[in-house]
């Protein structure tokens, strides 16, 4: 009996321990799940802009496309990426390997891919369009793929690259955006509740000058170089004949290639990308507007994507399948194909009369009437007084 009791007791103990472990696991699981959702955003967007035209700026297109590749690999769908490329490098006639853009020497990594979707390209990449995309003030007929449809729960990654100077970034070599304009655009976005948190990365000369004027909350900014410094290019390729990438983005891509959707790297790791020994310039960052500690912000908060999942306990009843009333009405009209070049019809086609003109007989009659009335009134004998 005692043995039996003891056995049951041990059973109980075992059950209790298992229960305890299970509860611990559950708590742990909930914690991790809580961490997962703690960043407070429900969707991710990316605006990736290359502002340089002409073949020798190949590297800027490659920069943008490498970031595009990374965010797409980490889960942001094409519908949430607004990609702006100011020139076509992939199908440029100078490109020895058409439909490719390489980021590494010896053509190792094709960042253009086989399913790229460029939303704004060529002449469409202007300061006006960029600011309109950010602030959402686009014409009503703009398609969805060209809009930034973010909300106050969106984390937005904005990446810019091009030629710049102290306080400005050139677009297409013909116009420029200043750091004040950019800061005001972000403020407008904040006031319109278009973002939750915003990560701004710029790879250009004197890049740090572009984020100096930011004043809206929840913005973290990175730049490839300090004021007074140039950003330098990397990876010259003899076959393509130009530099393939800029140093900062090259090392950024190298860093991002190791990130996977579950990785725990945080923003402090991102700040360490491309030290001065590699970049030659000094990358800068600004976190004073950002409310959270950069150490707690995962890379995937901006480069990855979360999908909003809502679990419902209620059963949903699907409606009956839509019936297709097969319209059996027989049309009496017989259609036919038309002649593609009906010569006789074209020759006898009357030119369109644009404006109505009174018929000639009417005008003739009117003049006759006027003359008649005149002669009736004055008669022939008075004619000498008139002339």
């Amino acid at each position: 009996m005692s043995a039996l009791l003891k056995r049951s007791c041990s059973h109980n103990m075992l059950a209790a321990i298992i229960m305890l472990i299970f509860i611990c696991f559950c708590v742990h699981f909930q914690n991790t799940a809580g961490q997962f959702f703690s960043s407070g955003h429900t969707n991710n967007w990316a605006v990736l802009v290359c502002t340089s035209r002409f073949w020798f700026n190949y590297r800027h297109v490659a920069n943008t496309l490498s970031v595009y590749r990374s965010v797409k690999r980490l889960g942001i769908p094409d519908s949430h990426i607004v990609l702006m490329l100011a020139d076509d490098m992939a199908c440029n006639h100078r490109n020895p390997k058409p439909a490719t853009v390489f980021s590494h020497r010896n053509m190792e990594l094709n960042v253009y891919g086989d399913d790229v979707e460029v939303d704004y390209r060529g002449y469409e990449v202007t300061v006006e369009n960029f600011l309109r995309v950010l602030t959402g003030r686009l014409p009503p007929s703009t398609p969805r793929s060209k809009r930034l449809l973010s909300d106050d729960r969106s984390n937005i990654l904005i990446y810019l690259t091009g030629h710049g100077g102290n306080g400005f970034l050139k677009f297409q070599d013909s116009e420029e955006i200043s750091n004040v304009e950019l800061a005001d655009a972000f403020e407008q976005m904040w006031q319109k509740r278009r973002y939750n948190e915003l990560l701004f990365i710029i790879d250009t000369c004197q890049g740090a000058s572009m984020y100096e004027r930011f004043y809206s909350p929840n913005i973290m900014a990175l730049a490839s170089s300090q004021v007074g410094e140039d950003s330098l290019s990397h990876q010259p390729d003899l076959a393509i004949g130009v530099h393939l990438m800029d140093r900062y983005t090259f090392y950024l891509l190298e860093f991002l290639e190791d990130i996977h959707p579950a990785s725990k790297s945080n923003m402090n790791d991102l700040f360490k990308v491309c030290p001065k020994s590699q970049c030659v310039s000094t990358p800068g960052h600004r976190t004073d507007l950002f409310l959270r500690d950069p150490g707690s912000v995962l890379i995937t908060d901006f480069f990855g994507s979360v999908r909003k999942v809502e679990i419902t306990m209620e059963a949903i009843h699907l409606t009956d399948p839509i019936l297709h009333p097969m319209s059996e009405e027989v049309q009496e009209k017989t259609y036919s194909y038309v002649d593609q070049l009906p010569v006789s019809e074209i020759i006898h086609q009357k030119p369109k009369q644009k404006d109505w003109h009174p018929p000639d007989g009417f005008i003739l009659g009117l003049w006759t009437l006027i003359l008649l009335v005149f002669f009736k009134t004055y008669g022939i004998k008075h004619l000498k007084h008139i002339f």
């Binding site: 060529g122 399948p321 593609q340």
Partner: protein
């Protein structure tokens, strides 16, 4: 549940038996068809009948073969329809998908590959209740059709220029850049607004800059473009036409195009569409054509046809490494393993007309199936590979067609019509546009309709318009000219000209280049400004009788332009786009002017202002301390002071 499974398995067994029966049936009918050919149906000229006698066993007549295939396809479709009927109680509107690839070896050693995909759907987008269930037809385009009340939509994206003289006529012509023309339904009240919105939507669908289409590059041709689908009446107010000659065509345009296919790029012929290879070519063109077509011979009901074509010319020297040898793998870096499972027919045609006895090139694997079709006024012979038959793939389960040239000589049939265009003149003020049209037919003249749409910043002097053939004036029988309005609309010139036999007809018109406003210049104005291709529509005399019955089962590539008469065929030829330099200001000039003005103001006006406002005084120099003290002492002493 068990009963259901049972029934399903029964059905499967039934389909299996049926397919086996069909297969055996087709195997058996083939020789019968052959005999038919040899006895009754013998339209071949002497050379070809020689071939026939030489290779008796492999000839097969087109019509009979096509009809048989059509029957079997219909059978399968019937099976599928009944299948779906069992599973879902409501009958679905019938739709059908066909794919084919035509390969034509060109004598220059280049190779022309043309993909044709056709989705037919027996539905009506214009009904009151919305079409909501899509199967094969892409939903994005279906919604566009019903929202904007589009009757016909033709869009093409092309990179490179089709060299008619070297390559002959393409199956479907397209101008360099992007071209869009749309017929709206006559229920549309504001056509311009619908057109503007439609271009925006299409630019989103195809990742293209079609939103640059506005009133300055849109025209309403009065005669050049007729509906290609079925209609009751045509009113040209509902037509809009625009080209963007500078449009870049690259992978981002191909990606959404591939997504419109029912199988995507996952199966069927579309697996060959790899952008690295397709864009490494001399010519690339992708098009989408939507139009209503007849359902049957009576043509009382319409169905919607979506035709997607992709044409590519591979260059011998850039991609073939100079060896005159082509294979599917070499062209597309892929081989075929299956047909698209949703396709009712999936075929590869290889043009072997110039190669009846394999003296120019040889094909491997060889195919016993031959087919004939009348294409662009010429009867062509094709070797056919049917991808729905497992036999085609052989034992290795993949098809890699190989074309190996044996000799390099051989000349091509010269195209009867081709055209070119260039800008003459010097300087940046005036110029002259020359359009040259060649009629290479030895004894027949034929009419052509020329359409020119010139941007407003080239001011055409229409009084200088001359049309000459063989050194004499050639008066056009129809001229439609719409002058441009600055920043509003382009010039539109349409002319119907009769081209005399074996002649060169030249159309010249002078123009003046306008000065643009500063902000109207593109970011790279020194590149020049493009003028879109001229469109030449012609009725070219045909050497063989054309097939006027469009509803008959034909290969897709030969059945696009509806043909009304047997003696001639309709063809459209595009000229080169023009690149014109406009007088371009020095864009750094305003900056220079500002700098210079500021300097002048600062130096000139500043000094003048200084002169006028300053009061001048003689300043007493301050004497030294020693001198001061000395003078103080001298003043006390009463001695004259030191100066």
């Amino acid at each position: 549940m068990a009963a259901y499974v049972n029934r399903c398995s029964n059905l499967l067994v039934f389909i299996f038996i049926l397919s086996v029966f069909l297969f055996v049936d087709s195997q058996q009918t083939t020789p019968v068809n052959e005999q038919h050919t040899n006895t009754a149906d013998n339209p071949q000229p002497a050379a070809e009948s020689a071939t026939q006698t030489a290779e008796e066993g492999r000839w097969e007549a087109t019509e009979v073969d096509e009809a048989a295939l059509g029957d079997s396809a219909a059978d399968k479709l019937g099976v599928r329809a009944s299948d779906t009927f069992v599973l879902t109680p409501t009958p679905q509107p019938k739709d059908d998908f066909q794919e084919e690839l035509v390969i034509r070896p060109l004598h220059s050693g280049d190779i022309y590959a043309s993909f044709q995909f056709r989705t037919l759907w027996e539905t009506d987008f214009m009904r009151e209740n919305k079409v909501s269930h899509y199967r094969l037809f892409p939903k994005s385009l279906g919604q566009v059709i019903s929202k904007f009340s589009v009757r016909e939509l033709h869009i093409s994206f092309t990179q490179g220029y089709w060299r008619t003289m070297q390559w002959g006529q393409p199956f479907l012509p397209s101008p360099p850049g992007a071209e869009l023309w749309v017929w709206f339904q006559d229920s549309v009240t504001d056509v311009d607004a619908a057109w503007k919105e439609l271009t925006n939507v299409l630019s989103g669908i195809f990742c293209a800059s079609l939103n640059f289409i506005d009133s300055t590059n849109t025209v309403q041709p009065s005669a050049s473009f007729k509906p290609l689908g079925i209609v009751n009446e045509t009113d040209h107010r509902f037509l809009r036409y625009a080209t963007l000659p500078r449009e870049i065509v690259c992978t981002e345009n191909l990606t959404p195009w591939k997504k419109l296919l029912p199988c995507g790029s996952k199966a069927g012929l579309a697996v060959l569409l790899k952008s690295e290879k397709l864009f490494h070519s001399s010519f690339f063109s992708q098009t989408v054509h939507i139009r209503p077509v007849c359902q049957d011979r009576e043509c009382k009901t319409t169905s919607w046809e979506l035709r997607q074509t992709l044409n590519v010319v591979f260059d011998l020297h850039t991609s073939g490494q100079g060896k005159r040898e082509w294979s599917l793998f070499k062209m597309f870096s892929r081989t075929l393993t299956e047909a698209c499972p949703l396709a009712s027919s999936s075929k590869i045609y290889i043009d072997v007309t110039d190669n009846p006895q394999e003296e120019y090139f040889e094909l491997s694997p060889a195919t016993p199936l031959l087919s004939q079709a009348v294409v662009l006024g010429d009867r062509r012979t094709f070797s056919v590979y049917d991808l729905t038959q497992q036999v085609t793939f052989g034992t290795v389960r993949s098809l890699n067609l190989l074309i190996r040239w044996k000799s390099t000589e051989g000349d091509m049939l010269r195209p009867l019509l081709h055209a070119e265009r260039y800008v003459a003149g010097y300087g940046l003020q005036t110029g002259e546009i020359h359009t040259v049209m060649y009629n290479n037919h030895p004894f027949r003249s034929f009419p052509v309709l020329l359409l020119d749409s010139v941007p407003w910043y080239l001011r055409l002097y229409i009084h200088t318009l001359t049309v000459t053939s063989k050194g004499k004036d050639n008066t056009p029988s129809y001229i439609h000219y719409q002058p441009s309005k600055d920043r509003m609309r382009p010039h539109l010139l349409e002319m119907l000209v009769q081209l005399p036999p074996h002649s060169v007809t030249e159309v010249t018109v002078q123009f003046e280049r306008a000065l643009l406003k500063w902000t109207e210049y593109t970011p790279d104005p020194n590149h020049g400004f493009y003028v879109g291709s001229s469109v030449i529509s012609a009725l070219v005399p045909s050497s063989v009788a054309m097939d006027t019955n469009i509803t008959q089962e034909q290969p897709l590539f030969s059945s696009f332009f509806p043909c009304k008469e047997e003696s001639s065929y309709f063809v459209r030829v595009y000229t080169e786009p023009l690149l014109v330099n406009l007088p371009t200001p020095d864009f750094s000039m305003p900056y220079n002017v500002i700098c210079l003005t500021c300097t002048v103001v600062a130096v000139g006006y500043g000094s003048l202002y200084n002169l006028l406002t300053r009061s001048f005084q003689i300043e007493e120099p301050n004497p030294r301390l020693a001198k001061k003290i000395a003078n103080f002492i001298r003043r006390i002493r009463g001695v004259p002071l030191l100066s």
